[in-house]
C-alpha cells in the first residue's frame, strides 16, 4: 500500500500487484476501479428493483381498480410500502452508489493522477458495508408485516410506533439499512476527500483538478457534514421504536418536528450529494464535445463550494407548512434565493461554454444537454416550491413529485448516462454503439417528459402525494386521463432501457476495442490505457502541466492539450 502510494514504483511491482487470484481481483478487491464496478453493479441491480416498484405504483394510479399484472391487487398498505421503498431505493441505493460510489471511485484517483485511493482497504470495507446495507434492505421486504411504509422521509410519529403503520421489523431494518449505507458512504467520503487533498500527481494543483473531482469531493464533504444530525435522529427514532424513549412522542415531552428538522438538515445537502456528481460529469462532457474551455472554471469551483455551504442553511423550505413557527418561513425563503445564485451561475456557465464552440453531438453530449434542459426545467419549478405562499398550495401535491423528478431523475438518469456513455470506453475498454445510444437518448427524453410533465398539471389540479387511489377524490376524477398518460410514459421509458441494456451487453461482448483517448479529451484518465491496469500508471506517475480544459488553444497544433503533455511539445 505504501509502495503503491509512493510516486515511482518499479515495473516489477506493477506486475506483482497485477497478478492476483480471482477472489482478490473481482470480489475482495482494493482496486478503486473494481470497487467502482461493484458499486455500479449494485446500483444497477437496485435501479431494477426501484423501477419495478415505480411501474407497479404507476399501474395502480392509472387503473386503481384493476389488479397489477404479475403482482395482484394493491392494497393501501402495499401502496405505502411501494412509495416508501421506491424513494429510499432511488435516493440511497441507486443515485448514491452510481453517482458517488461508481463515478467517484473510478474517476478520482485516475483524474488526479494517483494509483489508488488513500485508504484502499477502507474503500473495500465501504463497498462491502454497502452490500450489507443492500442485503438488510432487501431482506426487509420479506419480514412479517412487510417493508417500511412511512414514506422515504419517515416522519414520526407514523414511523415511531409500529401500531401506526402495522410495520414493525420492516421499519427497524429500514433504519438499520440506512445506517449501514451512511457508514459505507462515510468511509467513501473520508477516502475521496483525503485522496484528493493528499495524493494529487506532480503539478496537479487544486486549480488544475477537473470539475467532476471538485464536485465529487464537495458532495463527499456535504455528506460527511450533514449526515451526523440525521444519524442522531435515526438513533432516537430506533430507540423510540424499541426501548420506549420519547423523543418524538408529544404526550411525554417529545416533539415530532425535531425529526423533520434533523432530516431536512441532512436532506437538502443530500440533494446536492446526488446532484453535484452528475453536474460534475456533465461539466466534464460539455467542454470535450464543444472543444472549448469550460466557461469560468475557477468561478464554477467557487460557486460549487458556496452552494455547498449554503445548502446547510436552507432546510426549512421543505417545512413551510409543517407546523413550524410560520415566522421562520421568510428567512429560509431568503436563503433559498441565495442558493440560486451559484446554481444559476453554473447553469449559465454551461450554456456559455457552448458559445462559439465546435459542438459534436455524440451520445454523452446528448445526455449532457438533456440534463441541462431538464435541470433548468426542474430549477424553475423549484421557485414555485421555494416561495412560501405558493408552496402553501403546491407542497404535498404531485407538483412536488414532478419538480424533484425533473431535478433528481434528470441528475441520475441524464447526468448519470452522460457520464456512463462518456467513461464506458475507459471503464470497460470497449466502445458503445452510437446509433443505439442516440436512440436510447431520444426515447428516454421523450418518455421522461411524457411521464413527468403532466404530473405538474395534476398536482396543480390538487392531487396530493402518496394516495393509492385518485378516484376516491371527486375533484380528481375528471383528470384521471393524466395519470394514464403518465403511466404509459413510465412503461415506455422502462422499455426504452432495454435499448441501453442491449447496447451495453453487445459492446461488452462484441464491441470495438476502445483506444486510449477516444474522445480526444484532456483530463488524466485518458492518458491511462483503456481499461487502466491495476495501479493505473506504468512505473512513473503522470506529470501535470496545465489545467483540464485547454481546448482549441490557438498556439497548439491539436484542438486539445492533454494535462500531462508538456506544452512545449504541443506546438
Amino acid at each position: 500500500m505504501n509502495q503503491a502510494r509512493a510516486g515511482t514504483i518499479t515495473a516489477e511491482a506493477v506486475e506483482h500487484h497485477a497478478a492476483r487470484g480471482f477472489w482478490r481481483t473481482y470480489v475482495f478487491s482494493t482496486d478503486h476501479k473494481m470497487i467502482a464496478k461493484q458499486y455500479l453493479t449494485l446500483g444497477l441491480a437496485w435501479t431494477f428493483v426501484g423501477g419495478l416498484l415505480a411501474a407497479v405504483m404507476r399501474w395502480q394510479l392509472a387503473w386503481p381498480d384493476t389488479a397489477v399484472p404479475g403482482w395482484g391487487e394493491i392494497g393501501p398498505e402495499v401502496y405505502n410500502m411501494l412509495v416508501t421503498m421506491h424513494g429510499t431505493i432511488m435516493v440511497f441505493f441507486v443515485a448514491m452508489p452510481i453517482l458517488l460510489g461508481a463515478f467517484g471511485n473510478f474517476l478520482i484517483p485516475l483524474m488526479i493522477g494517483t494509483r489508488d485511493m488513500a485508504f484502499p482497504r477502507l474503500n473495500m470495507l465501504s463497498v462491502w458495508t454497502f452490500a450489507l446495507a443492500s442485503l438488510v434492505l432487501f431482506v426487509s421486504f420479506f419480514v412479517p408485516g412487510g417493508a417500511a411504509s412511512a414514506g422515504w422521509t419517515g416522519y414520526p410519529p407514523l414511523s415511531a410506533r409500529p401500531a401506526y403503520t402495522g410495520v414493525n421489523w420492516g421499519l427497524n431494518l429500514w433504519i438499520l439499512a440506512q445506517a449501514l449505507e451512511f457508514a459505507a458512504f462515510l468511509m467513501g467520503g473520508v477516502n475521496y476527500l483525503t485522496t484528493a487533498i493528499i495524493l494529487r500527481a506532480p503539478g496537479m494543483t487544486f486549480l488544475r483538478v477537473p470539475m467532476v473531482v471538485w464536485q465529487q469531493i464537495t458532495a463527499a464533504a456535504l455528506f460527511l457534514l450533514s449526515v451526523g444530525p440525521l444519524i442522531a435522529g435515526a438513533v432516537m427514532l430506533l430507540l423510540d421504536r424499541t426501548i420506549g424513549t420519547s423523543f418524538y412522542a408529544p404526550e411525554v415531552g417529545g416533539d415530532p418536528l425535531l425529526w423533520q428538522h434533523l432530516f431536512w438538515f441532512f436532506g437538502h445537502p443530500e440533494v446536492y450529494v446526488v446532484l453535484l456528481p452528475a453536474l460534475g460529469a456533465v461539466l466534464e462532457v460539455l467542454p470535450v464535445f464543444s472543444r472549448k474551455p469550460l466557461f469560468g472554471y475557477r468561478w464554477i469551483v467557487g460557486a460549487t463550494i458556496v452552494a455547498g455551504g449554503l445548502s446547510f442553511i436552507v432546510w426549512a423550505h421543505h417545512m413551510f407548512i409543517s407546523g413550524m413557527d410560520p415566522r421562520l418561513a421568510m428567512p429560509f425563503s431568503i436563503t433559498t434565493i441565495l442558493i440560486s445564485v451559484p446554481f444559476a451561475y453554473i447553469v449559465f456557465a454551461m450554456i456559455a461554454t457552448l458559445w462559439r464552440g465546435s459542438i459534436r453531438f455524440a451520445t454523452p453530449m446528448l445526455f449532457a444537454l438533456g440534463f441541462l434542459a431538464m435541470f433548468i426545467m426542474g430549477g424553475l419549478t423549484g421557485i414555485f416550491n421555494g416561495s412560501a405562499p405558493s408552496d402553501i398550495y403546491v407542497s404535498r401535491t404531485y407538483f412536488v413529485v414532478a419538480h424533484f423528478h425533473y431535478t433528481l431523475f434528470s441528475a441520475v438518469f441524464f447526468g448519470g448516462f452522460a457520464g456512463f456513455y462518456f467513461w464506458f470506453p475507459k471503464m470497460f475498454g470497449r466502445i458503445l454503439s452510437e446509433p443505439l445510444g442516440k436512440l436510447h437518448f431520444w426515447l428516454t427524453l421523450v418518455f421522461f417528459n411524457v411521464t413527468f410533465f403532466p404530473l405538474h398539471h395534476i398536482g396543480l389540479a390538487g392531487m396530493v402525494r402518496r394516495i393509492a387511489n385518485p378516484l376516491q377524490y371527486e375533484a380528481l376524477v375528471p383528470y384521471q386521463w393524466i395519470n394514464v398518460v403518465s403511466t404509459v410514459g413510465t412503461f415506455c421509458m422502462v422499455a426504452t432501457q432495454l435499448v441501453f441494456a442491449l447496447n451495453v451487453v453487445w459492446s461488452l461482448v462484441a464491441g470495438r476495442r476502445a483506444p486510449t483517448n477516444p474522445w480526444e479529451a484532456n483530463t488524466l484518465e485518458w492518458a491511462a490505457p483503456s481499461p487502466p491496469p491495476h495501479l493505473n500508471w506504468g512505473p512513473a506517475l503522470p506529470t501535470v502541466y496545465c489545467g483540464p480544459y485547454e481546448y482549441s488553444l490557438p498556439e497548439a497544433r491539436e484542438d486539445y492539450l492533454p494535462q500531462n503533455l508538456d506544452p512545449a511539445r504541443a506546438r
Binding site: R5, A118, F119, L122, L186, G189, V190, N191, L193, T194, T195, I197, I198, L199, R200, A201, P202, G203, M204, T205, F206, A221, L224, L225, S226, V227, G228, P229, L230, I231, A232, G233, V235, M236, L239, I243, G244, T245, S246, F247, V252, G253, G254, D255, L258, L262, F265, T543, V544, Y545, C546, G547, E550, L553, D566, P567
Partner: protein
Amino acid sequence: MSTSVEAPAIPGMPAGKVGVWWFLASEIMMFGGLIASYMVFRLGSSGWHEASAHVSVALGAVNTLILLTSSLTVVQAFAAAERENAPALRLFLGLTILGGLGFLGIKAIEYTTEIRAGFTPGAGIFWSFYYTMTGLHALHVLAGIVLNAILFLAARVRTPRRVELAGLYWHFVDVVWIFLFPLLYLS
C-alpha cells in the same frame, strides 16, 4: 496559462491524519445534532431540572476526572512512541485503557442505580436524552478502548503515527464528555 510543475503535496499532512479529522468532523456533527436537540428541548419546556437532580454529580465528576486524566496518558503515550520508548508507551497505553474501563464501570454503576430507582429510558424526555447521549458516548469510549488495546498488543511495532491517530479519537471522545457532563449533570 501557467505551466509550472510544483509538487502539490502539503507538508505536515499525512493521509491518516486528514482522514481521521474528516471522520471526526462527521462525529462532531452527530454529537452536535444530538446536543442541539437536547438544548432546544430543554430550554423550550419545563421540568428538566427536577429530573436531572436524580443523577449522581459525584460519580459524573469522578468520570470527568478519569477521562481528562486518560487524555493526558494517551498524549503521553504518543510522546513516548515518538521517543521510541516502548516501556513508557505500553505504560501510558495501559493506563489509558484502564481509565476507559474505569469510566465504563462507573457508568454501569450509575445506570444500575438509576434503573433500580425507576429512571429507565422510558421514564421521561430527560431520561431519553440522558441514556441516548451517554450511551452513544459510552459506545465511543468502548471503541476507543478497543483501538488502544490493539495498539497496546502491537506496541512492539512502535508506530507513533497510529498512536497519534487513536489519540485524536480518544481526545474527541473526551471533548464530547466535557460537554455532556455539564449538560446532563450540572444544570
